[in-house]
Symmetry: C2
Subunit: 232 residues, 2 copies
């Protein structure tokens, strides 16, 4: 039997009431869960250093059959393991802008990413790239694109990394063993677009500014450090 | 004439339909406005340095009758003026945790806040507080609470400030003229609770850890720097 217009309207009306109440209930439930779990949204994590020295082998080969036999503590979640996890999460690109880079484990991670096909670019300070223990030469010899601050009087003092162009790692921490293991330092890891985007833009600007091809009149600078400069 | 149950349900149903459509339309409108204005939420600002040197007198006395007659450029909004504006916005407290502090203008701002009754605490590095041009002694002589890293082998390398316990200023930038005017540096200013809270906790932890009263067995360290330590 066909429905009359009145009955149809009644049904639609009742359906709308049920829908409205259902949506309100879901909203109430979502808010309760949200309040319990705290505000969600893009990743925001803060790491403080110094960090204890622990074994990090499981981060490089999570599926290995035998546990690592080294004497360091195992299975600990530290600021440094968190930093390494975020770094190793790169699938496409790693843009690194760091004043001083001598940390062996961080160098190993960057080299691993490069060997996996991740597009790595490193921008560093002119003076600090050649200090004892610097990993910049190692990275460059592995074929990683490296540029450095061209001015003789200015320091490239940033300490940030952009993972896949969407995750920002930034703070006071230089990529050195002293910074990681001894100093009081901080690192923010975030995917907050309003923070990531300006750092992306700044990296591109600094990368172009550090292209020796744009500084033809500064031949002595470019020549002196030619061994460590690779054009992208 | 009283309404029948059917008519009542029909009216309620139609009302619910109208309400649902109205809410949907408002939601659509809000989203359009939101997209135009960009994502809102807590303050998130990124500043890059070096910053041009400009006159900042108007930030100290916005209501002065005559414009400043100094030869510096006026009325410019730079990274440094933004930093100063955020710093001078402190009404209740300023917790400062900075490796190196020799910038005269930033020192002036901190002294002004102190004179206004803002509760200022400064935590700094042991070695760098006594370098040439350091403002730490000036702050301490003005009566500001100052503590420093107590260890001889560790650097307090943070560069962050907490304004009124709710605004975080952090980055690579030491509070020096070289950092502000020459180096490539970054500063994040945010009121994002998930970022501010960990820094607050860390400041309190470091402040307590740097209390010489808690290091009675390290008398030589505490005594050597007594002049620059004020108990809170």
């Amino acid at each position: 039997m066909p429905l009359s217009l009145g009955e149809l309207l009644k049904m639609v009306g009742l359906g709308a009431v049920a829908l409205t109440l259902g949506v309100e209930w879901l909203d109430w439930l979502a808010r309760r869960l949200w309040l319990r779990r705290g505000p969600q949204g893009p990743l925001k994590e803060v790491l403080f250093f110094p960090s204890p020295i622990t074994c990090v082998e499981h981060l490089y080969s999570p599926a290995r059959a035998l546990p690592c036999s080294c004497p360091l503590p195992h299975g600990m979640d530290t600021s440094f393991t968190r930093l390494l996890v975020h770094l190793l999460s790169a699938c496409v690109s790693l843009d690194l802008c760091v004043f001083s880079f001598s940390h062996m484990e961080l160098s190993r991670a960057v080299l691993l990413l490069h060997s996996r096909g991740v597009a790595v670019r490193v921008l560093t300070d002119r003076d600090y790239m050649s200090i004892s223990g610097s990993q910049i030469g190692t990275l460059r010899r592995a074929g990683i694109y490296v540029r450095h601050e061209l001015s003789k009087v200015v320091h490239m003092h940033h300490k940030f990394a952009l993972v896949d162009g969407r995750k920002l790692i930034t703070g006071s921490l230089n990529w050195t063993a002293t910074a990681v293991q001894s100093n009081k330092e901080n690192v923010i890891v975030t995917e907050e677009l309003e923070l990531v985007r300006p750092f992306q833009d700044e990296f591109y600007r600094l990368w172009e500014d550090s292209d020796p091809a744009n500084h033809t009149h500064q031949t002595p600078i470019a020549t002196a450090t030619k061994g460590l400069v690779t054009h992208s």
